[in-house]
Symmetry: C2
Subunit: 499 residues, 2 copies
């Protein structure tokens, strides 16, 4: 058997184990009976251990070594699969086994302590664990290799290949210049939307029916997916023919399910439309966290909050909760779902202020890893930045520095992806407008297929075959440009708040 | 680490793999999107291969060998776990690897050919494959060891430990003496129940609501299980805290979902109530196919077709399909769901005639393995037996010899379990009547907990710790006795048909 064939067989086995774990994960989060969860955790442990063994085995090392000598002979698909496999292998294997083991233990403790600390709103409990996690990550960066003399770049690259602080400083700087004055004007504006009806009762069954209708309209393929209920909504790709979305029905805030489903659908459309040639390979997934998020945010914001989308769907929505919308016009509805206001909690933030939450985290992470910030000072720095950017400050650690679980799991460098996704989405939207000048009309007709097809042609089909910047260049003709998002936010919020 | 601890760790790993496969299996049968099934099959292949490797490894052989020398020192639970593991190991390993591999290939072909043959109603297509399967099984029996000079006993023992043709000949003979004349009288009776309303429209959502209410009443623990829809209903135990039931809603025959759910619930109650000490061990399951079936049939027939159960539930049922039952009295309803009539298809048969379908298969299998019957003669023999026992003969192979898939999978010795289950159930019911003389009153009150508790005490809790005859003796004070089932059928059908 050729080394190439051995490699393909090997990584397909890894892919099979990952799919098995995904089924188990999906099941645990969509209705597995609670009394079975303790033993189920052991199943996850056993299967994950075998997966980790496969991902780090001497056999794989030997295959990768042999492949590395003949990269030029490989097809593009096999070469990219090799690169991704090698990258994941290095991530695990460059760290000495005993250090990695100690880190896994620390991480699992840190997650538990973070939960308690958040409950008690006491950062000091979490402090020593967070310190340990950061020190370990700093050491790991030296094993992985420091990029451009900048340890934080090494971390960014894990979530967003080739992303650097130079690029982020530039685009976040540009974006801030637009967003900060906008936020101030909105807060001061007398034209606040009436959002009260949003919190009226909307029965769950009606929300579910509306979500299903919208998924259908968004070109979600129900023969290759399904919608289920969960506590923390997510999209999960088992394989290209099985890309599931989940949602949460809040009977006193329909946005959670409605816009949440549109968001997850964006993720799902990406994975349902990857080219079949990548099936079973590590390339049959999004190429980065940021590009993945660009697809969900494209649908959530540019489709799901668009006037024309709702001119088509508002009657349908009203049908499922007639009383709630009795005295609500389409105009009122649109202003309400597009309202913006500074707030303390990232995951509850609106489109306009969301990027500021990310910038705060980015600036903090960057300084932490470049040695300019002490972990002890985090709450103080956090609160000062919220005051500076959003004009409000947390009253305690739970609604401030402790709100996100990411750091307890060692995920530094992840946060920027959320804002990057929004910038990518706006940039895709601008490019799409050149090819599909009747975008709004299509939404008004409920015909989203051409929109989905454009994204499939430019983005979806490639999976992780192209890296983010290559994909962006191919789809939009340029590198990352924050102006499109800035323009979009400025136009939109000036209009909604009559600024 | 002691060999005992090594053994326990090893079999818990096997158990974890089995649970992973069960989650995947459940998912595939309750709504996994069809476009993902092809790749999912590869996942099943990969995980099953690793499971098979674990079940047949040299490491396990060595552990079992070491344990075999110290059986006396082991606790009862570990000893029985050892015995079950050794039995499964021998089943796989006593067959030479190449013969086993060839058999697996033949089996998968045979299943596909059986399906085609059934579709075309042509036994001759299936004949050569069935011959091959039987020849292989006959050879395997010699590897496994012929019990009591009777190859068929070796097969029976795999599904029903310690069961023999001597016992089956006796109990089936006794049962036949009661059933055959009863069937003849029923066919000739002028008092046929009116079953027409059964086929009226009963909306699926109403059936589902009724099934959920009944499950609750039967003491099914929803924190350790769930109800889902499927094509071929089944119960599946993932672990003791996760025992799931499934059902099929036929809007023109509510019996499928209603009585089917009661049936699967009987299986589920068994596995939900096994003692926690057996968690993760091969003993945390039913002790045999027959005992498992006794629990489902106990609930389906002795509870689900009981007058008092419906005196409590009929109003609830009517609520979910008011029009259908407008002119149906409880009396009419009971006669209808207890109707009996000779028919050709086993899985559609009623309580009374079902055992005859099993006896026909048992007699044929026994003769096949004892060399007194040629595979070529099967359709002829089959049809003659149907004529003799049920007074009707199949018009073609599809509704005759080809109706069941069991033989294509090599499952010889399995069929008797179905009828044994019914006999066990009647025997348990007779013993329960001594302890719970107010059985009917409890049903009429909808208080089934004492009934479930009796079964848990006598049957459920032991899992596979006690073997079938030991369990039966403990619960009823005697060995297998067909008289209880015969008495039950005679009393019931004489009453219903005014014989």
């Amino acid at each position: 058997m050729s080394v190439e064939q051995r490699f393909l067989n090997y990584i397909k086995k890894i892919d099979n184990y990952e799919e098995a774990l995904s089924v188990i994960y999906w099941d645990m989060r969509t209705g597995a009976p609670k009394k079975g969860l303790e033993q189920r955790a052991e199943v996850v442990g056993t299967i994950s251990s075998e997966l980790f063994r496969l991902q780090t085995s001497d056999e794989l090392a030997e295959i990768l070594q042999e492949l590395s000598t003949k990269k030029e002979e490989l097809s593009e698909i096999v070469r990219r699969s090799y690169e991704e496999t090698q990258k994941a292998f290095d991530l695990n294997k460059k760290i000495p086994a005993d250090e990695y083991k100690a880190y896994v233990v620390l991480q699992s403790k840190a997650e538990a302590v973070w939960e308690q600390a958040k409950e008690k709103s006491d950062f000091s409990l979490f402090l020593p664990y967070l310190k340990g996690i950061i020190e370990a990550q700093q050491k790991f960066v030296t094993y992985w290799g420091i990029k451009d003399n900048n340890p934080y770049n090494t971390l960014l690259d894990q979530y967003e290949p080739d992303m650097t602080t130079d690029i982020l400083d530039r685009v976040f700087g540009e974006l801030k210049e637009t967003i900060l004055p906008l936020v101030q004007k909105i807060v001061a504006s007398p034209n606040q939307p009436d959002t009260s009806f949003i919190f009226d009762f909307f029965p769950k069954e009606g929300q579910k029916a509306a979500c299903l209708e919208i998924l259908q309209q968004l070109d979600y393929d129900f023969e290759a997916g399904r919608l289920d209920e969960t506590v923390h909504p997510f999209m999960i790709g088992l394989n290209r023919g099985d890309i599931r979305v989940t949602t949460k029905y809040d009977e006193h805030d329909f946005r959670s399910a409605l816009l949440g489903t549109v968001h997850e659908c964006g993720h799902a459309l990406y994975e349902q439309n990857i080219m079949p040639e990548l099936d079973g390979l590590p390339l049959s997934t999004g190429t980065s966290m940021g590009i993945h998020e660009s697809q969900s945010l494209f649908f959530e914001n540019f489709v799901g909050r668009n006037k024309n989308f709702w001119s088509h769907n508002f009657e349908m929505l009203k049908k499922h909760s007639p009383k709630q919308f009795e005295n609500v016009s389409l105009e009122m509805f649109l202003r309400a779902i597009n309202a913006a206001q500074p707030s303390l909690i990232r995951i509850e933030a609106d489109e306009l202020t969301y990027p500021l939450h990310i910038m705060i985290r980015y600036e903090i992470e960057k300084e932490l890893f470049n040695g300019n910030l002490q972990v002890e000072d985090l709450p103080k720095v956090w609160n000062a930045k919220y005051e500076e950017y959003l004009g409000i400050a947390p009253e305690n650690d739970a609604e401030g520095i402790l709100q996100d679980m990411h750091w307890s799991g060692g995920s530094f460098g992840y946060f920027p992806s959320y804002a990057l996704g929004f910038m990518y989405a706006a940039q895709f939207k601008h490019a799409m407008d050149q090819d599909i000048p009747n975008f709004d009309e299509l939404l008004a007709e409920g015909n989203l297929t051409p929109i989905r097809e454009w994204l499939t042609e430019k983005v979806h089909q490639y999976g992780a075959l192209k890296k983010p910047f290559e994909l962006l260049k191919g789809a939009t003709g340029e590198g990352l440009n924050a102006q499109y998002l800035a323009d979009y936010l400025k136009e939109k919020y000036t209009r909604i708040y009559n600024l």
